[in-house]
Amino acid sequence: MPSIRLISVTKRFKDNVALDRASLNVRSGEYVCVLGPTGSGKTTLLRVIAGLTQPDSGQLLIDGKSVDEMGPEDRGTAYVPQQYALFPHLTVLQNVAFSPLAKGYKKAEAFEIARKVLQTVKLAHREGAFPSELSGGMQQRVTLARGIASGARLLLLDEPLGALDARLRMELRTELRRIAKDLSLTAIHVTHDQKEAMSIADTIVVLKDGNIQQTGSPFHLYQDPASIFVSSFVGGSNFLPGVVVGIEGTNSLVELRDGIRIRVHQRSHRRGEPVILSVRQELTILRNHADEKENAIPGEIRGTSFVGDAIEYDVELDNRETVKCKVPSYYVSEGSLPFQTGERVFVTIDPHDCNLYSEPPLGLAKELEAF
């Protein structure tokens, strides 16, 4: 159960900084997801730990020992790529036994190790099958089994579910976590899918342009995103520009476009400062009526989109800002949706559900289009 420590690791490819002074602690046995858009440096981070990419500067410690003297094969890591790369002419069992055999185990021992691992990934019944006879999900589980059978204590998973159906991905992601936990492995799992990261990680590391933006538990990242980027990338948010016009105790009063005032339970900016108010789409609540005491903004529903577990409403507020509201489909009654396109509504926001950020130097639009 190795622990990992990255200290200010930088990697450049020509002019492009893939990793910029990245520091990270991974506890032994922890399941960590590295989350970020394409080109944010997450695969580079994984490859540095695997020993497949040499950093330009910084230090990497595995179990407290510097890896300077360790080749990729001495690090006890299993690198699982997105595209399963199994030997097509070998059976499932032979594929999984490959690494123990290469390490000099006798055939019977190697097969025993392989069978044990195949049981863990629930594929013992297919040990005689060839890769081409298996579904994509099964092939990916064999790839994982092969990595585990090598004796690795550290799983490095590079978009391991990227090639699979959405429905299958959901099933397999919890399997991945279960397997890692059952075998007490440390896992670092790279993904661009925030739902995947939220559902299985102990800790999420958010990367952007080679910089670690925030590290924390799924709950922490959702509840208290450190930046507009994290707020928009981890879960969906609405962003409304405004100005702090008053401070009342622990609350700030924020004036949005057209003089609409919203009370926010946060004291972080001074009076007169321009801010961006963010609120989660599922906490941007739609109502037919408004209470005077609430943060309520009148508007009209412009678009309705049924996505299964929720209905997404595009609402144009009377101050011409637009927000997205996610209403659970629990509120569908006898087949009819709770709100219809064209309906007049009030958008209400709980003061505790808002976050305030300083206005980005290049403006909000620029900040959000960055990925």
């Binding site: 579904s135 159906d165 049924f306 996505v307 577990d309 997404e312 629990y330």
Partner: protein
């Protein structure tokens, strides 16, 4: 305006059947998605319409004209692939104008059409950029401009967003629909992403093992599926074997693992399967007698917009429930004794599959 009719199309490769008597009508101006597990034949069906693959039997009509024997370039169809396949030596404008150019239109006309196509996908400012200077999302927009640049009447999209980041996919998917609707195109969109299909389609076609399982509006397929496969593939559900006990004025009573369940439907076979989606279950900490099924929380996962619970019920079933973070009792934790309450109007019933429920659910 085109209406697409696929009539009894089969495709076989030797002994392997990829499409089996598939029939499908797509209305003029409609946006239809095809979803199904890998290998279900959805891409093959799309390619048959595009003319890239010839069906072994059956007919495909666009506006009542048979397409059999008509080469792809004569079909007036725009086709967009998953892999971003732009010509690397051409800039965005040249890529967008590729269709009109090979059709021999004048240079001026080609330029105008390419410019219009790029404007539609909001990429006019990048018209001089080469593919390697564009992000994945931007490249995919140019690919879309190229697909619509030849002014087709039918747009076929094969996993058009598949190679993109989740966040980019979210913003681009509505663009696709908007564009198709603005141009009045009839669109068929193949995807492996159920949520994508639901959010942009007028209707969804669900395929499995070369056949069409069910066709319908997203909301209807999700809330009132006719097939167990649909309920399981489009979204997720808890499935439980049930036995009909009695039918009355207001519905039926089922025996589910020794507990009674009242349902609205009255036409339930003796051996049936009852299903409930996780988000139509509410967990309560109070255990008022007669309200819900009793159980214990085995697992709790915070997903941000929702919180998921695994509950081991006393009747032996293990179910998944999903509640918004604002729901009452969402703070119930692992080990807590709870009641699980089902929304009655969201309960689904199906006849028990002949080969058993397990087999039906593990079929992909």
């Amino acid at each position: 305006m085109p209406q697409i009719r696929v009539v009894n199309v089969s495709k076989r490769y030797g002994s392997l059947t990829v499409l089996e008597h598939v029939s499908l009508n797509v209305e003029d101006g409609e946006y239809v998605s095809i979803i199904g597990p890998s290998g279900c034949g959805k891409t093959t069906l799309l390619r048959c319409v595009a003319g890239i693959i010839d069906p072994t039997e059956g007919e495909i009509y666009v506006d009542d004209k048979s397409l059999v024997g008509v080469p792809p370039e004569k079909r007036n169809i725009g086709y967009m692939f998953q892999e971003i396949a732009l010509f690397p030596h051409m800039n965005a404008r040249e890529n967008a104008g590729y269709g009109p150019r090979v059709r021999g239109l004048s240079r001026r006309r080609v330029r105008t059409m390419a410019g219009e196509a790029l404007e539609m996908v909001k990429m006019s400012e990048r018209s001089e950029d080469y593919p390697n200077e564009l992000s994945g999302g931007a490249r995919q927009k140019v690919a879309l401009a190229r697909a619509v640049g030849s002014a087709p009447s039918v747009l076929l999209l094969d996993e058009p967003l598949g190679s993109l980041d989740a966040s980019v996919r979210l913003s681009l998917r509505m663009e696709l629909r908007r564009l198709a609707k603005e141009l009045g195109l009839t669109a068929i969109h193949v995807t492996h992403d159920q949520e994508e299909a639901m959010s942009i389609s007028d209707r969804i076609v669900i395929m499995r093992a070369g056949r069409v399982v069910e066709v319908g509006k997203p909301q209807n397929l999700y809330l009132d599926p006719r097939q167990i496969f649909t309920a399981n593939f489009l979204g997720e559900a808890n499935f439980m074997r049930a036995r009909l006990m009695a039918t009355g004025e207001n519905g039926a009573i089922l025996d589910v693992g020794g507990e009674e369940l009242n349902i609205e439907s009255r036409t339930v076979p003796r051996d049936s399967v009852v299903a409930i989606r996780p988000q139509f279950i509410r967990i309560t900490k109070r255990q008022v007698e007669g309200s819900g099924w009793r159980g214990k929380i085995a697992e709790k996962t915070f997903l941000g917009d929702v919180v998921r619970f695994q509950v081991n019920l006393e009747n032996g079933f293990k179910i998944t429930a999903q509640m918004p973070p604002t729901a009452q009792d969402v703070d119930a934790d692992v080990g807590d004794e709870v009641s699980a309450n089902f929304q009655r109007d969201k309960l689904l019933t199906f006849p028990c599959p002949t080969e058993g429920l397990e087999k039906e659910l593990s079929a992909w």
